[in-house]
Amino acid sequence: MSVKQALLALLEQGPMYGYQLRVEFETRTGSTWPLNVGQVYTTLNRLERDGLVAGEGVDDDGHVVYRITDEGRDEVAAWFTTPVARTQPPRDELAIKLALAVTVPGVDVGTVIQRQRTATMVALQDYTRLKRAGRAANPARPDDMAWSLVLDSLVFVAEAEIRWLDHCEARLRRAVRTAENTATFEAGQPREVNR
């Protein structure tokens, strides 16, 4: 995830210090992708080194406040106008697990699929509960809407995972049936010939 661009985009709203940035980030995205404060400050240091933000000095409570520079604004504009790259799909543990389950002997793939489907459904029910209640249910403010859309994204991803699991199950069962039919056919063949 691009913490760098996300923080820059937040600074478009006005100067902020590290902890504030973390809070603003999480108001929009939930605690789905938690940022630790250390990560925020490391990123700010790098952004300052690259001339994308500048220190504005220290506020009354001793926080170091940062503002975005013109170069920083260009970077944000470029981020928003460039699609997220899909060339390198993120490593998907479930796809890898299933790829191994169907090839390693002695693994009950059906059970692997059903356990995962139940677990993903539990997560999906949980996202839906958050959608029904709380600030995502009636998003009045822009950051409530942001959080609601992030929840929708989680919902669609979980749904896609369940659909894929259904698809895997159906294909594997069909493959087993085909294999059984072929075996019956081959076993029956000599008898037909001998009759």
């Binding site: 108001t27 605690s31 958050l130």
Partner: protein, 240 residues
């Protein structure tokens, strides 16, 4: 706790001999007041059979189906038809409204068939149409309404007369994503208000509105999800 709907070791076999099909094999299932239960499974898994048995539209080969404490098999055809007018509401994928009747007349029909006078039935129908959010559509005919509006009318028809058990068979199947979600929201609200809901769907996103999700495979319950919420997913602001 007493379940509104109770399936006890239910088996349903269609046909006999070599063409015999076991649609359900010894399924036990409960749904309580205030609860929405989703039933998922691939086609042929038995989920629609489960719903038709629960609705008294079909009878089991073995086992018991109990609604509101009444064994449906013991009732006979006339008794089951009466249960469908007074205790059980059915919602279909394609709405099944009567085209020649207005929304209010469609909703009033089960009350009138149950012997209520038409004025009282209309009054009850208007009250339920208000509850499902479409009081202004009372005098429209089905072909003057969108799919989502027709499904709302169908839900009103399913709950009119204080019926506590709502059985919904793919109620969002003919609707787009947003409208489908509104229908789920409405079913969910009816259950939160005390009704018992059973939702058959193949869409995980819609099943997720349920308190419990039951998975059927080849006529057998293979798993169930939704006992406890995952606490790792907190609303922002709640974690601090």
């Amino acid at each position: 706790m007493n379940a509104t709907l109770h399936l006890d070791d239910v088996t349903r076999v269609h046909g006999s001999g070599p063409t015999e099909v076991h649609a359900l094999r010894g399924v036990s299932f409960r749904a309580h007041a205030g609860e929405l239960v989703a039933v998922m499974g691939p086609s042929g898994s038995g989920k629609s059979t489960l719903l038709t048995l629960a609705g008294g539209l079909d009878t089991p080969t073995a086992g018991r189906v109990v609604v509101d404490g009444v064994d449906l098999a013991a009732l006979g055809g006339a008794g089951r038809a009466r249960m469908r007018r007074t205790s059980i509401g059915y919602v279909f994928q394609d709405f099944n409204l009567i085209p020649a009747l207005t929304a209010a007349e469609n909703v009033a029909l089960p009350r009138e068939l149950d012997g209520q006078r038409s004025r009282a039935a209309r009054k009850a129908a208007l009250a339920v149409l208000e509850e499902v959010g479409i009081p202004e559509l009372a005098d429209r005919f089905p072909d003057e309404m969108s799919g989502g509006q027709q499904q709302r009318v169908a839900i009103a028809r399913a709950v009119v007369g204080e019926r506590r058990l709502i059985l919904a068979d793919e109620p969002t199947g003919a609707l787009d994503t947003d409208t489908g979600e509104e229908i789920l929201r409405l079913l969910r609200a009816r259950c939160d208000a005390g009704a018992t809901g059973v939702l058959v769907t193949h869409e995980a996103r819609h099943a997720a509105w349920a308190d419990r999700v039951v998975f059927l495979r080849d006529g057998v319950v293979v798993d169930e999800s939704g006992a406890d919420p995952v606490d790792a997913l907190l609303e922002p602001g709640m974690s601090r």
